[in-house]
């Protein structure tokens, strides 16, 4: 779909549409600039045209050069493998824009983020509580992502207002931020009547480290290392999305060999995480043998990673322009041998789980997230696929996956069992893909080209094991980063969890939580 088709599509639904400019910035990215007054209606129209949730809504501060803020809203057209980014200027003396939250729920968290970080008010958003800067710690009026912000200014502190359910016999169970296990910090507040949960209020931000601000002013190679530390169990997906954005800006296309290697490492990351989660689900129903079994498989994959790349978590493997570590003949053999036993053990693990009646009883119909809810919330990635939403960037965007006839895994029921089944199917598909890509590697080809950095902006994306990881980057002429917007799939999927647990009992919460296994640090940034 080129620009004109997109514009015709919008005009069919919203006749008053008028673009200030519309450009095909890259083969898979269209940028449309328009006036603030029609921003809302255009977004609503695009939402219908592509039947896409808002992939990301974010702002940037251009007050120094142009006395304005810019708000961007990105939609994805999966069928055509294309992103459309709508942007509008917000004058600095009237810092507000029309909220979309009442019409598109998936945008509401992004709007709160823009309000909290830039002080741009989404007019009409019913919930403007802050997500990451806690009222008990950081006074109101601090907008960290504004360019003139450097340090938190002192001021009045407040308490956070939780949503409360009131009524006879309703009680609250607060949990966190420090949990019983070895896990990240988050606060969960259950409202319970009798046994079933009737509301789950989540509060995050405990791992907020100001990552997006830290990116600003860094060179891309320096920033790549930071990208690997955003979410520790998805290092490779983050560094991949980051480097793709830089590569798009610089107009570089990586070699085929590098594309295969990236796919191999991305799938290895998916495999060790999926098997870890499968083990986690077993341990959360008190079934410790398979969980120990799964942790041995995970360790085998981590050690394989270590042998192939000298990093258990695939850090410093990816770079802008390709990959740093290739696979020679010996390593390929090592990979094949390890995979034989890994696959055998995985089949055994699944056998143990599927043949246990009490385990299946616990996971079946537990924590169901229905498709309609999932679509309304804009849930993405593995969780969406388990609820029957066919969304996987590998299926729609990537060349090497198409070549390997990638098969997307989806389930309809949206419960813990569905998420387990999708993980099992994806693990198997990933191991097939890794072996297929390994067979296609040619040793002669270059795996790393050194790109010449340019200024510009682009969206980088990768389907990590949880779901899509998006990096919007803006660089100046010297290649220094001016703005970096990161979306980890956890950010959107946390709200899926608060709906999935409704009607379940609190003892099933750890199981539901593990079946989502979202990243605290990826969501909090």
């Amino acid at each position: 779909m080129d620009c004109t088709e997109v514009i015709t599509g919008i005009k069919n639904i919203f006749p008053g549409f008028y673009a200030l400019s519309a450009t095909q910035a890259y083969a898979d990215e269209i940028h449309i600039k328009l006036r603030r007054e029609i921003f809302k209606d255009t977004c609503l129209a695009l939402h219908k045209v592509f039947s896409s949730p808002v992939a990301v809504l974010f702002a940037s501060d251009e007050r120094k050069d142009a006395a304005k803020f810019v708000v961007n809203c990105a939609f994805v057209n999966l069928r055509r493998g294309q992103w459309v980014i709508i942007s509008t200027d917000i004058p600095q003396d009237a810092p507000y824009f029309d909220s979309l939250a009442r019409n598109i729920h998936s945008v509401s968290l992004f709007e709160r983020e823009v309000w909290e970080m830039f002080g741009l008010e989404p007019k009409g958003n019913p919930d403007l509580r802050r997500l990451r800067l806690h009222d008990e710690v950081c006074p109101k009026g601090n907008y960290p992502l504004r360019k003139d912000f450097h340090k938190i200014q002192p001021g009045d502190l407040e308490d956070y207002k939780f949503c409360r359910v009131e009524g006879l016999g309703v009680f609250e169970v607060p949990v966190g931020p420090v949990h019983a296990g070895i896990i990240g910090p988050g606060h969960f507040r259950f409202s319970v009547a009798g046994e079933p949960i009737i509301n789950l209020e989540t509060r995050f931000g405990f791992t907020h480290r100001g990552v997006e601000k830290l990116f600003e002013g860094r060179s891309c190679f320096d920033a790549l290392q930071l990208a690997e530390c955003v979410s520790g169990d998805a290092c490779f997906a983050h560094s991949l999305a980051f480097s793709q954005a830089i590569e798009k800006i610089s107009g570089v296309s990586i070699s085929k060999q590098a594309a295969y290697l990236r796919a191999i490492f991305l799938e290895l990351e998916r495999m060790y995480n999926h098997v870890n989660d499968i083990g986690g689900m077993a341990v959360d129903v008190g079934f410790s043998f398979p969980s120990a079994y799964a942790s041995v498989i995970k360790e085998a994959i981590l050690q394989l990673n270590d042998k192939l790349t000298a990093s258990r978590y695939l850090k410093q493997v990816n770079t802008v322009g390709g990959v740093l570590k290739g696979l020679d003949g010996a390593k390929k053999n090592m990979l094949r041998t390890s995979f034989k036993s890994i696959k055998r053990d995985f089949d055994e693990l699944i056998n143990i789980l599927y043949s246990s009646v009490s385990f299946m009883d616990r996971v079946d119909t537990t924590g169901a997230l229905r498709r309609k809810t999932a679509e309304g919330l804009g849930v993405v990635g593995l969780v969406a696929r388990s609820s029957g939403v066919p969304a996987d960037l590998r299926e729609y965007f990537s060349g090497v996956y198409k070549e390997a006839r990638f098969k997307m895994a989806t389930e309809e029921s949206g419960d813990v069992l569905a998420r387990l089944k999708v993980r099992v199917a994806e693990f198997k598909e990933s191991s097939r893909l890794v072996e297929e890509f390994t067979g296609k590697l040619l040793e002669s080809q270059e795996i790393n080209i050194h790109p010449e950095l340019k200024g510009g902006s682009a969206l980088g994306y990768a389907e990590g094991w949880r779901g899509p990881v998006l990096y919007w980057l803006e660089t100046d002429a010297e290649g220094l980063i001016q703005r970096c917007k990161i979306v980890d799939s956890s950010f959107l999927n946390w709200q899926g969890l608060s709906y999935a647990v409704l009607g379940n009992i609190i003892p099933d919460f750890p199981l539901c939580n593990k079946s989502f296994n979202l990243s605290y640090s990826g969501g909090d940034l």
Binding site: V178, F206, T207, S231
Partner: protein
């Protein structure tokens, strides 16, 4: 019972498709006589009456350190065989294991967790972030360096430290404490 424990330490549980000399490596841990695993165990037995209980606290880490701490508890490294246990409550803990660069939002929780631990207690930091903020140094929302907030007895370096490094560091600490 003692014989069983001894066998487990000497043999290790798993040998399949895992680095064959890994178990030996864990037991050796840089000592000449191949006694390190046993030494760690005996230290814990003498010093902590067979059980060193650790409470883990994530102060804003990316999750990789957590993953490696969990790995140190898997059947291959099996930290528990040395008498080291991870506890669910700070009230049962001898040591606090802190990961992450201390986000401002976690400062209160960090202090409260430490305060609710019984004496004697000590703090271990794990990963580069916990030492000085690591890659997040200079951020507006980082308190940085756990050692400026709590007295730290030991730091385990790495990003993330491998399970082997975690076990090794614990051993060193206990040796010093003697």
């Amino acid at each position: 019972m003692l014989l069983m424990l001894k066998n487990r330490i000497l043999k290790g549980l798993f040998s399949r498709h895992i680095e064959p000399d890994l178990t030996a490596k864990i037991d050796r841990l840089g000592l000449p006589a191949g006694q390190a695993g046993l030494e760690l165990k005996s230290l814990i037995q003498n010093k902590f009456r067979r059980s060193l209980h650790i409470r883990h606290l994530d102060s804003g880490s990316c999750g990789a350190c957590e993953s490696e701490i969990i790995s140190a508890n898997n059947p291959i490294y099996d930290l528990q065989r040395f008498g080291v246990n991870f506890t669910a409550s700070p009230r049962h803990a001898d040591a606090l294991l802190v990961t992450g660069p201390v986000s401002k939002n976690m400062l209160i929780a960090l202090k409260k967790t430490y305060d609710s631990m019984p004496e004697p207690k000590f703090v271990i930091t794990c990963g580069d972030c916990a030492l000085d903020g690591g890659p997040f140094k200079g951020s507006y929302y980082i308190e940085g360096a756990v050692k400026n907030i709590l007295p730290v007895a030991l730091h385990i370096p790495g990003c993330p430290p491998s399970p082997l490094a975690i076990i090794q560091a614990l051993l060193m600490l206990l040796r010093e404490k003697e």
